[in-house]
């Protein structure tokens, strides 16, 4: 496989993993969870440095994952009091965890270059260079990791499809029929935390945040059916990966940024031209409503 193919494949796998979960986040009004997790992992990295004096990827990812889980569970707990709206809960927890990390860095790791960019946020252009050998075939490490994450997310969403669907749209109803909305919400958030942390290391934070929100929001404009929404979100993320890579090559710019812009372009297209919820259709409809009124 060429390096370009590896990069596109890795981006598409990241997109798939994110787009499987993104629609649920958008529908549950916690779309910015990815952004929250991307900041909240800092104390984990500091902790790993304090305990083991290492910046090895595996240890760092484990530490980051620990605090990603702490972050999503804290958000869920704060939200579950019913006193704090979900978006405010996100905006309270992640700055606090990030601040904890910054304090840790200044207090214990001052002078060591320990910041998010260099330890956990990968650069997708470097994906082909770190390889592992699986069954005698050298493969890019990030690609393998993300393929596993995709499989896990697929299993989660596939096995718990109707439970996730019911708890997303009607938590009260799902409680009365014996589902566990709280448990399912935590499971979903844990999957987001794990996905985000494994993807940060490969492709960088901003692309993960983008892939969790933009494809899902695009799909939300195009369909009213959850299954179709997830499928469209996955498709949009693939289009974003391929087109973004082409854009980056053509303009010689950052791949992750270009992929984000390609996904955004898909959203703008859907925003304008979506068959039922698009702006053009809305304008036409509004014009039609006005005409008889004007004639009368």
């Amino acid at each position: 496989m060429t390096d370009t193919a590896v990069i596109v494949l890795t981006a598409a796998l990241t997109g798939t993993a994110c787009a499987l979960l993104g629609p649920f986040l958008v529908l549950r009004r916690v779309a910015l969870l990815g952004d929250a997790v991307s900041h909240a992992v800092l104390p984990g990295i500091v902790l790993v440095w304090l305990v083991a004096q290492t910046r090895a990827p595996l240890a760092v990812v484990a530490g980051a994952a620990l605090f990603a889980v702490v972050c999503v569970l804290a958000i869920d707990a704060l939200r579950a009091t019913g006193l704090v709206p979900p978006d405010a809960a996100i905006g309270l927890v992640f700055p606090a965890l990030f601040s904890l990390g910054v304090l840790g860095v200044t207090r214990y790791a001052d002078g060591i270059h320990l910041d998010l960019d260099s330890t956990i946020y990968g650069e997708i252009a470097f994906v082909p260079f770190a390889t592992v050998t699986v069954a005698g075939v050298p493969l890019a490490r990030a690609t393998v990791v993300l393929a596993v994450v995709v499989a896990v997310n697929l299993a989660l969403v596939g096995l718990l499809w109707k439970e996730l669907k019911a708890t997303t749209f009607d938590p009260e109803f799902s409680r009365t029929v014996g589902l566990r909305p709280v448990l399912l919400s935590r499971l979903l958030l844990l999957a987001v935390a794990v996905t985000a942390v494994s993807a940060f290391e490969a492709v960088g934070a901003i692309l993960v945040v983008t892939l969790l929100i933009v494809p899902a929001a695009t799909a939300y404009l195009l369909t009213d059916r959850l299954a179709v929404m997830v499928a469209v979100a996955v498709a949009v993320s693939w289009v974003g990966a391929v087109a973004g890579n082409a854009l980056a090559t053509a303009t010689d710019s950052a791949i992750s940024g270009a992929m984000g812009l390609a996904c955004t372009a898909c959203f703008v297209l859907a925003l304008l031209a979506a068959p039922r919820h698009g702006l053009v259709v809305r304008w036409i409809r509004r014009g039609r409503r006005r005409r008889p009124a004007a004639a009368a």
Binding site: A31, P85, G91, S99, F267
Partner: protein, 397 residues
């Protein structure tokens, strides 16, 4: 600013930081309320990220890292991002938080692409452009604080003048539109004020602190009041207090200011969420426990009266209240205990009477009373009326 800074009993640089934190906390507390109450808590996050492409474009146009120029670029991009966010939210089915996420992703992606473009242009002056967004409170200048104070004064005055209209737009935009309020203009005004505060604040203290400072004061104040104007005032006070306490504490402990303020703010929020009178988690749990105990005592007293025998598991609870004392043949009621039994019986009789004949009472208070506060809600006059109705079994007097 000078006399104010001199009045603070701290070294000059620390006094500037404390004053800056107070002004920023006050402004963020008040303006953040409008974002939090509309479900746009994370708008500060989006605006802070949206500023990056603005900074890049300003640099490309100006060719230098001239701070006012970059600030204008950041401000324009921030306002643009906020307007796009409002437009998406208003014209599509996309929820507010997803609209915020879309703006954040799109603008920051653009910023990343522009950064690589600038880096590729080989301009030596471009280094450190991306770290422009992350400020340091310790590097705060008196002029920064003065600018912030001016913006703060203008936006607080605007809030004070429009608070009645804002209240309608905040809680019922459709009604606001129907009575002829310029809903869209008011929303854009409040958002633009917020954006300007965020852009200045981000320069001073960094994006993450801004996110927390916009949210924490309002969430705290919301636990303590249900009314908008007290909430705004309280949020401003909480913001300023947290800012000052964090700034003073961090300089005393030799820690970075921003993170200390954020952690302090979270601590206050948690305290409010747990302990706030009537709404707090612990308060509610305590009230529930109290009600359960009362109900258990009532049940025990009734059982005692009915069976002539006190259930064994309730002996201690009643003894603690002084209603039961040990006697030769098991526990027996004290004088107070007999009064308590009488009181429960009367309360139940009154409740039965209310259920049966309550509709005949002519009440001026539309509230539906509960079994525990019935007598107090009705008042002595209506209670005797109800008793009479029950005694005559509803026959007209």
């Amino acid at each position: 600013m000078g006399p104010l800074i001199d009045a603070i009993p701290l070294p000059y640089t620390d006094a500037v930081v404390v004053l800056g934190a107070a002004v920023l906390g006050l402004t963020c507390g008040v303006l953040g309320a409008f974002a939090v109450l509309r479900g746009r808590s994370l708008v500060g996050d989006a605006v802070a990220h949206a500023a990056l492409p603005g900074v890049c474009v300003a640099f490309l146009l100006g060719g230098t890292k001239d701070v006012p120029l970059l600030l204008v670029g950041a401000g324009v991009a921030g306002v643009l991002g906020a307007v796009v966010m409002l437009a998406i939210e208003r014209n599509t089915r996309i929820p507010a938080d997803s609209a915020i996420g879309l703006v954040l992703s799109a603008f920051f992606s653009l910023g990343v692409v522009l950064l690589t473009y600038i880096a590729g242009s080989g301009d030596a002056d471009q280094a450190g452009l991306e770290s422009y967004l992350f400020g340091q409170a310790a590097g705060l200048l008196e002029s920064d604080v003065a600018v912030m104070a001016a913006i703060s004064a203008v936006s607080l005055a605007a809030v004070a003048l429009t608070v009645r209209a804002m209240r309608v737009v905040l809680f019922d935009p459709r009604f606001g539109g129907s009575i002829g309020l310029p809903v869209r203009a008011l929303e854009i005004t409040s958002t633009v004020m917020l954006v300007i505060a965020v852009v200045i604040g981000v320069r001073m203290v960094g994006a993450i602190l801004m996110v927390a400072m916009l949210i924490a004061p309002t969430v705290t104040a919301r636990q303590l009041t249900d009314r908008l104007v007290p909430l705004l005032a309280l949020a401003g006070v909480v913001g300023a207090a947290v800012g000052v306490a964090g700034a003073v504490g961090s300089t005393a402990a030799g820690l970075p200011t921003g993170p200390v303020i954020v952690l302090l703010a979270l601590g206050i929020v948690l305290a409010a969420v747990l302990l706030a009178p009537r709404r707090g988690v612990l308060w509610r749990a305590g009230a529930l426990l109290h009600r359960r105990r009362l109900a258990a005592c009532d049940a025990a007293l009734l059982a005692w009266h009915r069976d002539g025998e006190l259930p064994a598991r309730s002996v201690r609870a009643l003894a603690r209240r002084g209603w039961a004392e040990p006697g030769p043949a098991g526990p027996r009621p004290t004088a107070a205990g007999r009064a308590a039994i009488q009181e429960v019986l009367e309360r139940r009789a009154l409740w039965s009477a209310w259920l049966e004949h309550g509709t005949r009472l002519d009440l001026d208070d539309p509230r539906e009373p509960g079994p525990h506060d019935l007598a107090a809600v009705l008042g002595p006059h209506r209670v005797s009326e109800l008793r009479e109705l029950a005694a005559t079994n509803g026959a007209p007097r």
